[in-house]
């Protein structure tokens, strides 16, 4: 029986079991995103002080659910789909141990449902971080543990698939850059999940009474090996997706395989040290430790991101210029397919991740500057720039790419998809910028009431802070509208989208394999190395001048903003 289906439009080969697993993981991820999005309505409309929608208990419950579903379930489910795509599909290999992969998926679903049930029962409103000694119900932790075990199995299936592809010689030469990036994400994921197990298993045992004490500071240090590193999986994954998208849309080749891969290697070596960002103002941790770790050992992971920041758009520019879009600095960019949501989503995520997410992250992760930022609403503003306008927007763009290829359905309401990336990115950017501002004015994160109703003493935030939270609220509502548009397009496509393949029925949209007749290839021909470029790389000086200008703009913004914050720090009370 033939194992592979070939997509006539893209030429990708899909292994039957990998195809189903990609679909179910992507759909499960979108369901988690839907829950997170619904919760976001409650969160944003409560933080918008003039509306102040939810009572305190429901607000904290919604915030817990929003955080876990968005930061863990949505993103890791979707990343499992990416891992299977980057291994099985890109390498034309059968998937390793599909039964194990299904076991992993089922564990992830059980874990996600169990954790959500715990949160909705109302006694586990402990936030995503679940800092001890505040205690959630046992099934809150157990759900997370099961989810992590399932994800770990998925990582090993990915690694196994790489081994099979190599043994079966399904490709010639080295693995593609995109697969290399996915491998980076996978290695970081294994580290992340190990940290999660080390801290959540004892915390679970504590919640059922087998352990009587968990040290609160130890919990923080190890938990952040999970909490921050899980977001580093995203960085590696979405950068890989950027390379995939420029390859598919523009036929772009990396400016230099060596540079891009070395940058991924720097991620593997240094990115996880950033867990230290969260414990810069904690007791009992030395400055030397903080300085070394918070800077990823001299900012070597930041260097990696700055490299990708040049090579991703640079590779696109080179490809565009080769097609004759050579006028001026930016014709290659002006004449890019801005009406295609795959491109617009990708490019905006690149810019927003770099300019807002990257810069704010480095600034607030500076040991001393963290004093004026820790736990203010600046922090969620920063990670919405990285995880929402960075990762989520990239994954949305990838979804638009995958619906025809993987699900074999045409996009439903393509004009909505066309606008969706702009509405979503625009709304979220507005929210992020104003929340950054409010954080600078000291507005606290995870806080139900900036009026402090019921407190014995009183404090008034400046009027500007209220204004900023309100404008941020408007941005958040726009972002949610963008989220609704995404859901309409995705679910609409799976249910009503024009079938591009006669076998792509309703159930196929949710993971069922197509009829046996759709799978026509027993084993695809060996994947050949990419054709040599006409002109040898590195021969012609500045190949991507426009990108270099953009990169310098990033650098200048970075430097200016960095020193503004030192200046602000210098104005507060002396501490020593």
């Amino acid at each position: 029986m033939a194992r592979f289906r070939v997509c006539p439009d893209s030429g990708f080969f899909f292994d039957k079991s990998a195809e189903s697993l990609m679909k179910v993981n992507a759909v499960a991820g979108v369901v988690a995103l839907l829950v997170a999005g619904i919760m976001a309505i409650g969160v944003i409309l409560t933080r918008w002080q003039e509306i102040h929608l939810l009572p305190a208990d429901m607000f904290y419950q919604a915030l817990t659910s929003h955080g876990i579903n968005a930061l863990i379930f949505w993103i890791i489910f979707f990343e499992m789909a990416i891992l299977y795509f980057a291994s099985s599909t890109l390498l034309r290999s059968r998937l390793a141990a599909p039964r194990w992969a299904w076991t992993g998926f089922i564990l992830m679903v059980i874990g996600a449902v169990m954790n959500n049930v715990a949160v909705f029962q109302g006694k586990s409103s402990v936030m995503m971080t679940s800092y001890v000694p505040m205690q959630a119900e046992p099934h809150f932790y157990l759900g997370l543990i099961l989810f992590a075990v399932g994800a770990l199995i998925g990582c090993f299936v990915f690694l196994g698939t790489l081994v099979i592809a190599r043994d079966d010689k399904t490709y010639d030469g080295s693995i593609p850059l995109v697969t290399f990036g996915a491998l980076t994400a996978c290695i970081i994921a294994v580290f992340t999940i190990a940290c999660g197990a080390i801290i959540l298993v004892p915390t679970f045992l504590w919640s059922i009474g087998y352990i009587n004490h968990i040290d609160a500071e130890m919990y923080r240090v190890i938990w952040w090996g999970l909490g921050h590193s899980s977001q580093q999986i995203n960085v590696a994954a979405h950068v890989s997706v950027w390379y995939l998208i420029i390859g598919i849309l523009f036929g772009a080749r990396p400016m230099s395989e060596k540079v891009s891969r070395s940058a991924f290697l720097l991620y593997i070596l240094f990115l996880q040290l950033a867990s230290a960002h969260h414990i810069l103002v904690d007791p009992g941790i030395s400055s030397e430790w903080k300085v070394f770790n918070t800077s990823y050992a001299m900012y070597l992971a930041v260097l990696a991101s700055m490299i990708h920041g040049l090579t991703v758009p640079g590779s696109m520019e080179v490809a565009q210029r080769a097609k004759g879009l050579t006028k001026g600095m930016f014709e290659w960019l002006r004449k890019a397919p801005w009406g295609n949501p795959v491109f617009s989503g990708f490019f905006m995520s690149l810019v927003l991740f770099g300019f807002i997410g990257g810069i704010t992250g480095v600034v607030m992760g500076t040991e001393q500057i963290n004093l004026i930022i820790h736990n203010t609403i600046y922090v969620p503003a920063h990670f919405h720039a990285t995880v929402v306008t960075g990762t989520t927007l990239t994954f949305m763009a990838l979804t638009y790419l995958l619906i025809p290829v993987l699900f074999r359905r045409a996009l439903f309401l393509p004009w909505v998809a066309k606008m969706q990336t702009y509405v979503f990115a625009g709304g979220m950017t507005l929210m992020i910028l104003f929340m950054l501002g409010a954080g600078t004015l000291g507005v606290s994160r995870r806080h139900w009431d900036m009026d402090f109703t019921g407190a014995a003493l009183s404090f008034d935030y400046p009027g500007t802070a209220y204004m900023m939270m309100a404008v941020g609220g408007v941005g958040g509502v726009l972002g949610i509208l963008g989220g609704v548009m995404f859901m309409v397009v995705v679910l609409g496509s799976l249910l009503f989208g024009k079938k591009l393949d006669a076998h792509a029925g309703l159930l196929q949209g949710f993971g069922f394999p197509m009829k046996a007749a759709a799978y026509t290839v027993e084993q695809p021909a060996q994947l050949q190395m990419a054709p040599k470029p006409v002109e040898e790389h590195g021969s012609g000086g500045f190949e991507a001048p426009g990108t270099f200008v953009l990169a310098m703009a990033l650098l200048v913004s970075f430097i200016v903003y960095y020193f503004i914050n030192w200046d602000y720090l210098a104005s507060v009370w002396p501490l020593s």
Binding site: G173, P531, A544
Partner: protein, 179 residues
């Protein structure tokens, strides 16, 4: 279309790197090093640094220290909280508990105090407003920071680490008086 195909050169690590990338990597590396050395620089020459002084403690031990200070230097009461005016240069204590910062401190401008912070129960966030100084307060740990208030005024201590349903009512005060 090579980003998702095997590289066109079997030995891709021998392909020379373009000038543009080398220049950018150089610039970025220099910037990374500047940012790195800013932190030790600030430790030497800047005025806002955390000490590494911290002790393991228990809620009972810390409470006893707070009570002793309140006993000795209480100068008044406000909204049920004792207002304490310890001498300049001394050790001052503030504890976080569900849902109070206790007691209210009265400090003198331009004097230094060794501020000790700890939590009696869950984790709390010491967020001094409107100066916007934020510290994590963890049960079982006593953190010591030398503070030198350089402006007189009424300051609020907001709790900015989520600590349950009454989190938003957890508000304390530090008054800084002209001497």
């Amino acid at each position: 279309m090579t980003s998702f195909l095997p590289p066109s050169d079997r030995i891709w690590w021998n392909v020379p790197i373009g000038k543009q990338e080398i220049i950018w990597i150089g610039i970025a590396l220099v910037w990374c090093l500047i940012m790195f050395f800013m932190m030790p620089y600030w430790h030497l020459f800047g005025k806002q640094n955390l000490s590494n002084e911290a002790y393991q403690t228990t809620p009972a031990q810390f409470q006893a220290k707070v009570d002793a200070m309140v006993e000795e230097h209480k100068v008044g009461e406000e909204a049920g909280f004792p207002v304490v005016r310890p001498p300049a240069g001394s050790d001052v204590y503030m504890l976080g508990r569900l849902w109070q910062w206790y007691p209210i401190l009265e400090l003198e401008k331009d004097q230094s105090y060794r501020l000790h912070l700890s939590s009696m129960d869950w984790q709390h966030g010491f967020s001094l407003q409107p100066v916007n100084i934020n510290l994590q307060v963890v049960p079982g740990y006593e953190m010591v920071v030398t503070v030198t208030p350089d402006q007189a005024g009424d300051y609020a201590v907001v709790c900015n680490e989520y600590c349950g349903i009454g989190h938003h009512t957890m508000l304390g005060k530090i008054y800084v008086k002209e001497n």
